[in-house]
């Protein structure tokens, strides 16, 4: 997940969490206080009813000889009709229950949802929240004695209004949280963008520097941590640039040395090869001299080839090439003509299967690649083996491969073969006059063509080296050629 999203969600989640928590705490605390106040009023109402009943009704109707009401229900009913709270009787809802919670008297017809039938001992009062026809009510029960029997005085206290008020507050809260999500989300998005922007700049710069643009510097703005990081990044890039320049300078010096050395040994080598040929010519009958002169000649030739290849490597580094369209059939027939004598001499058959196509190459250099690859295949093969050259067109290029049935290579060797002076089998390579530079040169030429070398090999089964050339435009190029 991107850092932008992490920042955005960190801001939004923190804001929404604390807003929700704060809103909840505020609304519910207020509600709880209102509820407690209403519960206290409900209890007080119960007390007023109870003491009114006790003070008046119980005294008035228990006077012997003056009783006008002869049963409890009539007393309770008369009491209910005569009693009022403050200026009004509206909202005063109570009932008298016996110990089995059967209604003895009730001044309301409501039916609360909770069928609560537990016993309440004398000296205790019970209250709880209940519902009735969509209303919220607090029910308060108190046991009392009347004419020797025990009853419960229960009153109902409507608290729907505080629930409605709470609902209204939550509706406002919904609007606030919606506004927070919209405006807060926009602000969080902008903040996240502004915070991530310098990091993105750093990331882009590091990518460009990784691609070689070491002169790039990041503008340092402000004094915050990102600015410090940018500054340190610039210092690091400067140090890296200096180091690379130093390394490049050293590499150039080495190249110059190798070029000078190769050039300087060329003249004495030519002399050595020439004189060894003369000695060989006059050494008929002297086998020791013939062997020694032959050895000098062979080694001289090898050194000469080595120096030439080194020169090639150095020259290739400095050269800019120009690619030209060349017909595949023409190019490969020329290559086959070049290598056929060498392969015939080694007793190795060459099989070629080329598709028609256009190669965007520098002919001479690509010819070197082909000859080197075929020569390597020859070196790995034995008499009677077969080397196969195949070429095929792709949408955007042309592939050709050189496959042998030789000794093959293991994966460790495969990763090293394009390094200069690397020889998989030194004794065999030297015997064949190799210097370990052929594939290094091939690799360099292929890279100059922006092409790719793919090597597949299995020890004991042979090797297949494929060059993927790009820039092939198929029939359009064919037309261009015509």
């Amino acid at each position: 997940m991107k850092y932008y999203w992490k920042l955005f969600f960190a801001i939004m989640l923190t804001c929404s969490f604390f807003l929700s928590l704060g809103g909840f705490a505020l609304i519910e605390t207020g509600f709880q206080k209102s509820y407690d106040r209403e519960a206290a009023s409900a209890r007080q109402m119960n007390s007023l009813l109870y003491y009114s009943l006790k003070k008046e009704a119980m005294q008035e109707y228990t006077v012997e000889g003056n009783a006008v009401l002869i049963n409890e229900k009539a007393v309770f009913s008369y009491f209910a009709k005569s009693v009022s709270f403050g200026q009004t009787t509206e909202g005063l809802q109570f009932r008298i229950l016996d110990l089995e919670h059967k209604v003895v008297y009730s001044n309301f017809s409501l039916k609360p949802e909770i069928d609560w039938k537990e016993q309440v001992p004398q000296g205790e009062l019970v209250y709880f929240l209940d519902r009735e026809q969509g209303k919220k009510i607090i029910r308060v029960l108190r046991p009392f004695k009347f004419w020797g029997d025990e009853y419960y005085l229960e009153n109902l206290w409507d608290v729907t209004n505080i629930y409605n008020k709470k609902q209204e507050q939550y509706q406002i809260f919904v609007e606030i949280i919606a506004a927070m999500l919209v405006f807060g989300g926009s602000i969080a998005a902008v903040i996240s963008y502004l915070l991530v922007k310098p990091l993105k700049r750093l990331s882009t710069a590091s990518t460009l520097i990784g691609k070689g643009n070491l002169s790039l510097r990041i503008p340092v703005r402000g004094t915050d941590e990102v600015a410090m990081l940018s500054s340190q990044f610039n210092l690091m890039t400067e140090a890296l640039q200096r180091k690379i320049e130093l390394i490049e300078e050293e590499a150039r010096n080495k190249e110059l040395f190798v070029a000078a050395f190769s050039h300087e040994i060329k003249t004495p080598l030519t002399a050595m090869i020439g004189f060894s040929q003369r000695i060989l010519g006059k050494a008929a009958g002297d086998s020791d001299l013939e062997i020694s002169a032959g050895y000098i000649y062979e080694e001289g030739r090898r050194l000469e080839q080595l120096s030439m290849k080194l020169m090639d490597l150095i020259v290739l580094d400095r050269e800019e090439i120009e690619l030209e369209p060349v017909a595949a059939s023409f190019f490969f027939s020329h290559v086959i003509n070049l290598v056929s004598p060498m392969l015939n001499h080694a007793g190795i058959a060459l099989e070629a299967e080329m598709e028609e196509g256009i190669l965007w190459i520098e002919s001479t250099l690509m010819e070197t690649v082909c000859v080197n690859l075929i020569d390597n295949a020859r070196k790995a093969s034995s008499q009677g083996d077969k080397i196969r050259i195949c070429g095929s067109r792709r949408d955007n290029g042309y592939d050709f491969s050189v496959t042998d049935q030789g000794i093959g290579m293991n994966p460790e060797i495969l990763s090293q073969i394009t390094k200069a002076f690397y020889m998989a089998d030194k004794s065999r390579s030297r015997k064949e006059g190799g210097a370990g530079l052929g594939l290094a040169i091939c690799d360099k030429i292929i890279r100059m063509h922006h092409a790719k070398l793919e090597v597949n090999s299995e020890q004991g089964c042979g090797t297949s080296m494929t060059v993927h050339l790009y820039g092939y435009t198929g029939e359009e190029d064919d037309e261009t050629m015509e």
Partner: protein, 234 residues
């Protein structure tokens, strides 16, 4: 963007939504908790202590606060003493009127049984936190033809807290009545100590303050050639 990143962002959006609906879930749980909770409280044991045994100033305070703001609850009981005749029921009040007249708080008159009685019934004044001891009062109007006496009295100790006398017969009664200092007689009748009384204040000097350190009251009185009125306010 990888699928896992998309899933994570989706989960974070869900978490955000969850945070937003958190209060509603909390409110639902809170309501469910309140609905499931059965609260039990012990009630004050019933005692025989009577509010009427409290000092008169405290009784007057209850009357004043009950007729004024809502600091005390009031329960009204309509007339239900059908078994007693008014002469029997209101005889103690007439005795109190006579006592007030003797003390010089109200004009002398033949306060007797032959009057037209009317009453709205009893009113119980409850003091918050002490509901077991309500003060039981009754408002009563006695019409003697030429004068009408309206009063508020305690049904248990018969003390008259408020009184208003008016009518055509008052002119004759007031002519021989010393109304200027009658409020002191009225306070004497109530049994209010003079040491807590301030000098009359206000325009016409018809307000007397009472302050004994715990109870503060205002005694109001007004008189004219046709009326006399005493009452208390908080």
């Amino acid at each position: 963007m990888k699928l896992w990143s998309k899933i994570k962002i989706l989960l974070l959006f869900l978490l955000l939504f969850g945070f937003c609906i958190l209060p509603f879930a909390g409110a639902y749980i809170h309501t469910a908790y309140l609905e499931s909770k059965i609260n039990r409280l012990s009630t004050d044991p019933d005692t025989e202590e009577d509010q009427n045994t409290f000092p008169i100033a405290y009784q007057l305070k209850i009357v004043a606060s009950s007729t004024g703001d809502s600091s005390a609850g009031t329960v009204q009981l309509q007339e239900n003493e059908k078994s007693l005749k008014p002469e029997q029921l209101y005889a103690p009040v007439i005795e109190q009127l006579k006592l007030m007249a003797e003390k010089g708080a109200v004009p002398n008159y033949q306060y007797g049984n032959k009057a037209l009685y009317s009453s709205n019934g009893k009113v119980l004044y409850f003091v918050s936190g002490s509901e077991s001891h309500p003060l039981v009062v009754r408002d009563l109007t006695m019409n003697y033809g030429t004068i009408t006496v309206s009063l508020l009295y305690n049904t248990e100790n018969d003390i008259i807290y408020d009184i208003y006398m008016s009518g055509s017969g008052m002119k004759e009664l007031m002519s021989s009545f010393q109304a200027d200092n009658s409020y002191l007689k009225y306070l004497d009748y109530l049994g209010v100590s003079e040491k807590y009384i301030s000098a009359p204040q206000g325009e016409g000097k018809h307000v007397v303050s009472y302050d004994d350190g715990s109870v503060q009251l205002g005694f109001f009185y007004s008189y004219s050639s046709e009326s006399l009125n005493y009452w208390v306010e908080d």
